[in-house]
Symmetry: C2
Subunit: 173 residues, 2 copies
């Protein structure tokens, strides 16, 4: 079955955006291969806010390969051509998509969708790239997680710039 | 000069205690040597709440070696014998202690003291032991950090239980 993988950059204090929506702290690292990363996926899950921010761009945010996109929103009535809108019944819909053939699914965020999918037990793996900075405030990656969620560490990778990738499967081994 | 080192266990979502003050998720790891860890320090900095929680115990929390203790509080008038109360002028007092001879200083917390010392630029190193769990709520390690604080990764260590130690110096290399 395809996996849903939350893969995101986060500050050491757990924010995915600074207090004013800043992303400028997410420097690129020459050792970090986006190309390798992208190979694993052919589909992305996008929340409404993230979609609206990036809807001008073809096929997802700039520099992304052409993914099959699913937009999750209870308020939108239509989304751009080629993308699929999921308005409700998230659990059923996501379980159906996971059973389809294909590569893994990148949970691109944002925070609201992440929380919903985490609480529904639909996320299989977390891959956090921790940046060496404290932002002091902003949008937290995890918000309103209802219960404790135990994780199993499967991989760590350290980059010369001070980025650390931590990869966990959801649940205990 | 002696360093002030924040060394603490934290959940992947950045909490040092669960929603009801729980610590039960902080399992011990046989590979993690507290004895080695303690060797580096001869002094601890303790906030008022943490002090009150652990003041019954001789020389600090259970199982700790005998440290020189500094208790930070604006409200207490006295502390137990052998400990030193710091009521104000934190920056001056801490800078003085850092210049004294001795081993490094363990910033044992809690969250309030951590924030104060971080914002005053008095913390030299962060050593976070990240546990493989999302607690969903509780007491965040970092709270009210005023400005961005850049860090430099100096070490990572991965344990078989899924704990990851991340060590940073404060400031950019």
């Amino acid at each position: 079955m395809r996996k849903v993988i939350l893969s995101v950059a986060v500050s050491l204090d757990g924010f995915i955006e600074g207090p004013n929506g800043e992303y400028d702290w997410c420097f690129t690292d020459q050792d970090y291969s986006l190309k390798e990363f992208f190979k694993r996926f052919d589909t992305i899950f996008v929340g409404r806010k993230t979609y609206e921010m990036s809807s001008e761009m073809e096929g997802g945010p700039a520099g992304f390969p052409k993914f099959k996109e699913y937009i999750f929103s209870t308020t939108l009535d239509k989304v751009k051509e080629g993308a699929t809108l999921i308005k409700g019944g998230i659990k059923t819909e996501v379980e159906k998509i996971k059973k389809e053939s294909g590569k893994d699914i990148w949970l691109f965020g944002g925070a609201g969708l992440t929380t919903s999918l985490m609480n529904l037990g639909l996320v299989d793996e977390l891959s956090l790239t921790v940046y060496p900075i404290l932002l002091g405030g902003g949008k937290p990656l995890f918000n309103n997680i209802q219960d404790r969620i135990k994780l199993s560490l499967v991989d760590t990778k350290t980059y010369s710039t001070g980025m650390v990738s931590l990869t966990y499967t959801v649940g205990q081994k």
